[in-house]
Amino acid sequence: MFTILKKRRLNPTVTLMEIDAPLVAKKAEPGQFIILRVNEEGERIPLTVADFDREKGSVTVIFQIVGATTKQLDQLEEGDALQDFVGPLGVASHTEGLKKVAVIGGGVGCAIAYPIAKKLHQQGAEVHAVVGFRNQDLVILEKEFREASGKLVLMTDDGSAGQKGLVTQALKELIEAGNQYDEVIAIGPLIMMKFVSQLTREYGIKTVVSMNPIMIDGTGMCGGCRLTVGGETKFACVDGPDFDGHLVDFDEAIERSGMYRGFERHAYESACHLLNKEEAPHA
């Protein structure tokens, strides 16, 4: 069984869980993902590896409560176990040979950007991190990013923490200030990755984005995670999840991510409704 060793709420809608999964921990690399099911009737959901401890045999995931499954997952406590936990899947992020990198994280995407920043930092690369959130209550991993980077710029939409504005503004300023990056790595909402890629295209800086589309098996079988990259169809699960941001058709990816929006809203509402019922006697 895949026991939850540690659970920590990072902000009102984002939770960290460290899961006992020795075989996955042995192989996991930054950029890869796992698929889990909460219970026997549950759906399979992909989550990117946020951290791993090979000696302890644990893998950390960080997730935002966005739908019924993440809501159920968030109800589990330390000592509870997940039904299924499989991985590591996908291709690990390429970090070899990079000397100076800007790592851009948006919202819960920071959970995925962090292990990459950490790995680059450990390799001796100069890391500039730009992290963005809606407001100060949603800021996660600030301390961790500070430790893993030579420079950290914190942005919030409303200016309640760090500077007010979008990550693209901060990145533009860094580039304009003369920083020459080998690569920009951007992980966050599709719309953020789209605009980061647009910006870096102007400057001709190679940009890698991490795609997290809808998928079922995660091994290349369903094709539900397909994307258009440079005019070709790619499967995020086996060809990615990292792709060249200048080649990804983001508009298509944004459309595809909304395939089941109606169903998801309904499922989320019934999950909340069920939980309210369960909690009512204690209220």
Partner: protein
């Protein structure tokens, strides 16, 4: 005195207008009386041509003889000697091109209904026998099987019966492979698959789910862990698309995705955690058994109109005749000699139509089938809101990309010695769709059987626990 009726006993089925609204099994199976009556049609002829038509060489006349006598458990014993999954094969084998095609009764009239009898015997056994099979004494030698589909399960069962300690590694959370994610409940109830898997577990086979070989563990690590031989039955799971505009619109599925959502993830059930589009007008592109399965699922999910869109004529369709007939009875439309050229979307990027052209048949191509040619000026738009692409699959590259010394052909299929299933790497065997490309359950089972025999011969000539890393 044999039963000289020229016709098979009919198989009772759910009425089409009823079954197209439920996921329960379509065919209901013979009664005891029907089975014994049908068994009496077998002449028990001298040459037994039927056996040579069976990829796992079941002693068909012998088991039918027992059915005729009402000795059903004895009949099961005969089936089980050759097949680990008789309840499955009785349902999904294409008997009409295998055993039954060789039956002498088929020369004048219909052949003996061997498939239906096999199904009857296996079901009778499952309904009347509580006893799980006994675990044979272990010989202490370990074999790894990659993939819990038809070839892997067969290979595992045969080796376990010989005393090997077999572990099956399955990437999904449930064992069964295509039997659970692909073939729908109404054609192969999942309880039957589970029963066959439980029998293997009772024989001592360990089912290790959630293990992606090539990711979680490599083939080399399996040898390091002390497995002395490896069988690869990883199937052909990668879906193909046509490469036409609009294929990434919302509402375009691969047959794999569509069927996996419905079958493995139970999207057809009210309140399932896994969503599926509520489509009203569905086009399934392709003419194989998988296309029939997808079309019939779409109908059961509540679509008003479901069409099979196939570029050749019905004669060239690779699907079994029975599947085509069942689909037609259920109201599936067959738009043959039709080929999609573009999928059209609405403003929200959901499917809103499919532009097609009509085809006509020209000269035979390399596959021996007459090749379809576009009819000039025949373009039209089919009104659909969902498209399922069922035009084939290729083997998954994960194992070949992470394992040294395994030769593959240009289609990515493992190259094996046909008589043994041996790959280019010592101690590694392969079979099923991973070798042949997409084919049938029974051919995969035959390959699993062959490999089990070869692995046994190979290990008998190897010192125990020798390492082949």
């Amino acid at each position: 005195m044999p039963n000289m009726s020229l016709k098979k006993n009919e198989m009772p089925v759910q009425a089409p207008e009823v079954r197209c609204h439920n996921f329960e099994e379509v065919a209901l199976g013979y009664t005891k009386e029907q089975a014994m009556d049908e068994a009496a049609r077998c002449l028990n002829c001298k040459n037994k041509p039927c056996i040579s038509g069976c990829p796992v060489a079941i002693d068909i006349p012998a088991f039918i003889e027992k059915v005729k006598e009402g000795q059903f458990e004895e009949a099961y014993g005969i089936l089980n000697r050759s097949s680990s999954l008789p309840a499955v094969c009785g349902r999904v084998c294409p008997q009409e091109t295998q055993c039954e095609s060789r039956c002498v009764r088929g020369i004048k009239g219909e052949p003996v209904a061997i498939g239906r009898l096999e199904r009857f015997v296996a079901d009778w056994h499952n309904a009347h026998t509580e006893n799980a099979p006994e675990k044979p004494a272990s010989n202490g030698r370990r074999v790894a099987v990659i993939g819990a589909g038809p070839s892997g399960l067969t290979c595992a069962g045969d080796l376990a019966k010989l005393g090997y300690e077999v572990t099956v590694f399955e990437a999904l959370h449930l064992a069964g492979g295509v039997l659970v994610y692909g073939i729908p409940e109404f054609r192969l109830p999942k309880a039957i698959v589970q029963k066959e898997i439980d029998n293997l577990t009772a024989l001592g086979v360990t089912m290790n789910t959630n293990m992606v070989i090539g990711r979680t563990l490599s083939v080399d690590e399996l040898f390091e862990d002390g497995f002395e031989a490896v069988f690869i039955g990883s199937g052909a799971g990668l879906p193909r698309f046509m490469g036409i505009p609009g294929e990434n619109l919302k509402g375009v599925y691969s047959a794999n995705e569509f069927l996996t959502r419905v079958n493995l993830m139970k999207a057809y059930r009210e309140g399932s955690a896994t969503p599926i589009q509520e489509a009203k007008r569905v086009a399934v592109v392709g003419g194989g058994n998988v296309a029939m399965d997808a079309a019939r699922c779409a109908k059961r999910l509540g679509a008003d109109e479901v069409s099979i869109v196939y570029r050749r004529s019905e004669e060239e369709m690779p699907a079994r005749l029975e599947e085509v007939e069942h689909a037609k009875e259920e109201g599936i439309l067959f738009r043959v000699l039709t080929n999609p050229v573009e999928i059209l979307g609405n403003e929200e990027k959901f499917v809103a139509g499919m532009r097609c052209v009509e085809m006509e048949l020209g000269e035979p191509d390399t596959s021996g089938r007459r090749s379809p040619i576009v009819k000039e000026g025949s373009e039209f738009v089919l009104d659909v809101d969902c498209v399922v692409m069922s035009i084939g699959t290729s083997p998954n590259p994960l194992i070949r990309n992470t394992t040294q010394g395994l030769e593959v052909n240009r289609r990515g299929c493992f190259i094996v010695e046909e008589e043994t299933g041996r790959t280019s790497r010592e101690g590694v065997y392969a079979g099923g769709d991973a070798v042949t490309g997409a084919a049938t359950v029974i051919l995969a089972m035959g390959a699993g059987k062959t490999a089990a025999k070869s692995i046994h011969e190979y290990l008998q000539n190897q010192p125990e626990h020798s390492s082949r890393v």
